[in-house]
Subunit: 408 residues, 4 copies
């Protein structure tokens, strides 16, 4: 366990921090507000990315702060999972910051999939523009009609038909589906029902303008459309795409999903830790600023203790995540399953508590659009369900613990 930041990492941390401080922070409040005004409701067809974000993307790209998540030294910056982790934390401090650096979900995960498992044609057609930040993408996994925390429940199908595959099924909570630049989804479905459960599914690239693909609506998460990204519901009815769109082939979906798993979890968690740090910072600021009963409110009752508990909880969560990142890099995803599941359970809960505390200290202001805290609350709450509910991941940790003793 060596979490020491390499010189390279330290350099990137300074540069990302400087970029945020100089360019983004001065307009943080403005962007939050105008994004809301630009995208006032659920009519995603009208959703727009804030022009400043488009501008910042260019700038970040030109400064070399681009695709930092990708381990490849040419296409990305050659950073390990552990090296990238503190950069994800920095970006997590604002909900819209990750896209500035082309490091937002689910595009990062999709780029990783195409990078590791895509064929040349797929890379050229879809990975290249994603890496350039020109298009956005979607990942279709969760389904509305079944408890999809159990993958064997999945109802969507991918069937071969000559040179094509035929895709059917409903997906929801497909993040990014409302983005004005979204062009395709990676879609997971049952391809080989007769195989064992690890070789039964496939992933296929489906352009969003395919015939038979209908975007039904954008979902709210606690009233939040998360525009202009959005979490959408799409129904695919006999959508035909060329067989070349299959990633790795029929029955390979599970293997790809496993490969996508580890680093993505780290990214999510580190961003969440950045978000919690920002919430704590806001709480201390507000607590020092506002007075009641003759004192700054941070000194009233249990408020001070709650600040301390937040600091301790954030630090523990960060160390747990860095440790998971280190294990992914050094012993691989398979040997790090306890750690990867553990952070999925621990980090969003920690953040939910910290954000809730920050809101309480802000009073009414914390709930409304004057601060990003209510958005934070929606975001971190959703993380306790996204990518499988906490309970499923606790189950994984339990099984691995029991195994230690049963094999004895």
């Amino acid at each position: 366990m060596n979490f020491e930041h390499s010189q390279k990492t330290q350099d990137y941390i300074s540069r990302v921090k400087a970029f945020m401080r100089e360019h983004v922070e001065p307009v943080e409040g403005l962007i939050y507000r105008e994004m809301q005004e630009m995208n006032p409701d659920g009519n995603w067809r009208n959703w727009k990315l804030h022009p400043l974000l488009t501008e910042f993307k260019q700038q970040a790209k030109s400064e070399g702060l681009w695709n930092l998540f990708l381990p490849d030294a040419e296409l990305g910056k050659g950073l390990t999972t552990l090296e990238y982790a503190p950069l994800a934390e920095e970006m997590g401090r604002m909900l819209f910051a990750p896209e500035i650096f082309n490091c937002n979900a689910p595009d990062t995960g999709n780029m990783e999939v195409l990078y590791h498992f895509g064929n040349e044609q797929q890379k050229q057609q879809w990975l290249t523009p994603l890496l350039a930040g020109e298009i956005r993408s979607v990942f279709g996994m969760t389904e509305p009609d079944v408890a999809s925390s159990d993958a064997t429940n999945m109802q969507a199908t991918i069937e071969e038909d000559g040179d094509h595959v035929v895709v059917n099924g409903k997906k929801w909570w497909s993040t990014g589906l409302g983005h004005p630049n979204a062009k395709f989804t990676i879609f997971m479905g049952l391809s080989n029902p007769g195989n064992d459960r690890h070789n039964r599914h496939a992933m296929v690239i489906v352009p969003l303008d395919s015939e038979g693909l209908e975007i039904k609506r954008m979902l709210t998460a606690y009233g939040d459309y998360d525009a202009p990204y959005g979490h959408g519901e799409m129904h695919l009815s006999n959508v035909r795409v060329p067989k070349e769109n299959l990633i790795m082939g029929m029955g390979k979906g599970f293997a790809i999903a496993q490969g996508r798993l580890g680093p993505g979890r780290i990214h999510h968690c580190m961003r969440t830790i950045g978000l919690a740090e920002k919430a704590l910072e806001l709480a201390i600021h507000r607590g020092l600023q506002r007075e009641a009963f003759g004192k700054p409110i941070i000194k009233l009752g249990g408020n001070g203790e709650r600040i301390a508990q937040a600091r301790i909880a954030i630090d523990q969560a960060r160390l747990l995540t860095l440790n998971a990142a280190w294990k992914i890099d050094n012993v691989g995803v398979k040997a790090a399953m306890t750690e990867i599941s553990a952070i999925k359970v621990a980090v969003p809960r920690m953040a939910q508590d910290v954000v809730d505390m920050a809101i309480q200290i802000h009073g009414g202001a914390g709930m409304c659009e004057d601060f990003p805290l209510a958005h934070f609350a929606a975001g971190v709450r959703a993380l306790r369900l996204a990518d499988g509910p906490d309970e499923v991941h606790m189950g994984m940790v339990t099984r691995l613990e029991m195994k230690k003793y049963m094999s004895r």
Copy 2:
């Protein structure tokens, strides 16, 4: 402590339940959905009440299920706080149900104020149409620029000027300000700065169309506008109203606020208990319905225990609230201060936990508009701040506990 429902109460419970079951429940989902569609964004000037609600109001009024909250036997139904409590619980199961019975906040509180403290002219002009359900009203207390949990921080002013009073100040989280029928606000401000802290404030009736009163915006609570009610911010700049609009006179604000306190707290808490029951009901339904890993999800991991804990927590909260109601009726608000503060602390927290659990069992569906749970989450979270943050009320309980031993 006798919480036995009187025959009269039992009769009203059956009638309210029957009304809900026959008329409202069949269109519950429809109303939630269409209310959202009718009022898609923050442009409150366009907000509309769902026509079915207007219809239900007529029906409830004609069936005598109207103004049940008001202890007066003629204007209301002569129910005590304790007798009304279970009716409030029934209404709390849907966010829009209280208005159907003319029992929604803040109109109930405002009607009580006018009933107890208003003069004849005020009653005629404002109380009568409120009781008829023809107009709605607002209560202006919380301020954006100070920690208003400490009443001595209040910056709004009410000054005499000949036959008028001049009102200045900013208020926010003024519930109902966006309602299409909202006509006036009761506004609290500093009137007699030289007096002791219990005789320093006044309350005055200010029509919303007064010159100098500007509605700046509706606030979101966790992204939720709570349309068509809304929580608004209003700025009053040299608003002149006739002196007759003062309730009880200069310096009487605190006394009125105290009078408004107890029963309103019971109403809020009982509605919240109804909401929690509804959330638990939804959780059990979903948990029995959806399957994963070969079982209904209610039987997986700790889900069953969470159901039990919710049941236990709700029952404790209800008994605590009924006990507070009983004390208000039997020994008065002053002698029930521990109880009235205790429910303010305990009930919203309980509901926050129960709703969060219900959402978790629903998975993604729980967060989105397919269920009212995310609205519930926003509502109960707001209750931990509305009417003073939890911490202020814990402080009251602590002081009263210490007093028992110090006076010995």
Copy 3:
């Protein structure tokens, strides 16, 4: 739900309070200390009841404060479960107080069993001296070698052999087994293995001096022998007792256990609430008395909030228990299963938290014998296991909740 104390109850409350205040409280510390000195270790054969307790027993008996738990108007005082509840709370404030009034577990439960289900000879031989406070008794249920939360695991056997029954098996956590006056145990065992699970067990009276009955040891609960009561382990090997010692007959054990269940649960919980009140009282006293950093420690950090939370939690627990008592009296144990299970879960946890808080405020003094708090901690912790672990009772609540929806 009518928890109003009857005039009779109020009278008894005053008298028990007066008795405690005048006689017992002045020597409370002395008795705790000397009981510890008299019974310094686990050699239960030397254990002695403090002579003051013997004296107080006489006094309480002569004042008519005796057998208050027993609903029978002649043998007891004709109090309902609800009427007795506040008296149990008063007695719960000191660990040794219940015996003063002949109201201590497990004798109360055993007296109830003999009263309701015993034959004339059993009543004469065992119930009469118990009611007189001359002897003490034991209840043998839990077993060391199996998870006895599942009654079907029970290994002890009761077999007919002519005019006798032959009893075999091990029991532990048999409370009162170390008491100098303990004379017999009610012993539960498998009697009719072929019957359905509700008619498979029997209960039999076994004198402690029976041949083949060996008391192996007294167990510590968190280092506490709870002398001179004790929680013992006894092994029975071919113990023969006359058939007349069977209570109600072979196969009737479950029915008797059910009958014993409800009121005993109320007694335990109300005593626990009294204990929690005492702990809170001690915490506030200490918090007001000791100073640090220039303030009474009750005013430091979150201490005040913790006092408030304890008050709120105790009040909720009491109301929940009174409600369960009321239901037992008015609709019967069967219809009150949710309530009876709920208090078993909620009350000991509440008390565990309150006592832990009180200890923390006392600092080191709270952990040692200068205050009864560490004994309280051991006692309430044990209650989360005694009479079945929390989890089993949560399971009962869950099943009953689910049933509401499945039967629809």
Copy 4:
């Protein structure tokens, strides 16, 4: 942050583990049981160290597994705080194991004090036999009559009188005072009342057989004497010791205390983590072994989730502690104050929860002497008070957090 175990550390870990596995684990239960039998009550004058421990001490010394805590390469093994940390964790798995390796509190802290701040004569007379494991020692800090979490409350005094100092005062919770080999205490008292608060106290070596030093009693922590170590109360009345016994001189007590602080905190916390690991191990074992309702109890209800939560909590606590150790080694105690306070808050609470869970899974067996869990519970509970209550350390974290923003 580099927590990688050095080759040297890994070697020591294997050797300590092997020693424990081969020598100590086979007699673990025996020693716990016989220690209890040898030291049945509070008569500390009769307390004995188990002879096997004396034997193991010789063996560990001869194998070079001795004084591992001491950074000095000759007197100890030259291990840094971080390098020693995992060894402390191993030792923490049994309550009596640390002394085997001469690494038990408070001797480790006292040895560090003498090593860093003692003069030659003090080292020769007291440090040498401590390092040899021949004598034991005591630290006198906490006082019975004041809230000693606030050092300015300290009432004990150390006054110069010619060639002597005169020591007066009461101390309690002086760990190790009952040990048969205990020979002296380091005693802290007010020496220079006129100085500023950081230069007001002194530490002096007081032999336990000094005239005027009376050991009043051993205290129980939750009924546990922790024999043969003991936590004692001693009263010093005009005890005279030569001036040479002053450590560093009058007014230097605070500086010494600060120096003693950091590494000792790491030791405590790592031992506590070892204890929590042992508790979790026992819980899983028991949970797999015992069956109820047709399943191993680990699979019932929320038990599995609790196992997962314990794993996650322990791992977070360990990382937090290793990080604090690393900071102490690399940036010094002063710059690590947040971390050193954070582990004091987080680790004992974590362990309290894990041990409580383990006991619950064990049922009655968990509370009694058949498992070390009740001793564990007492030990970890005491840690929330020892060395200052949690609340004081949260206060430190809060102040340091606020400082970040106030200095801006």
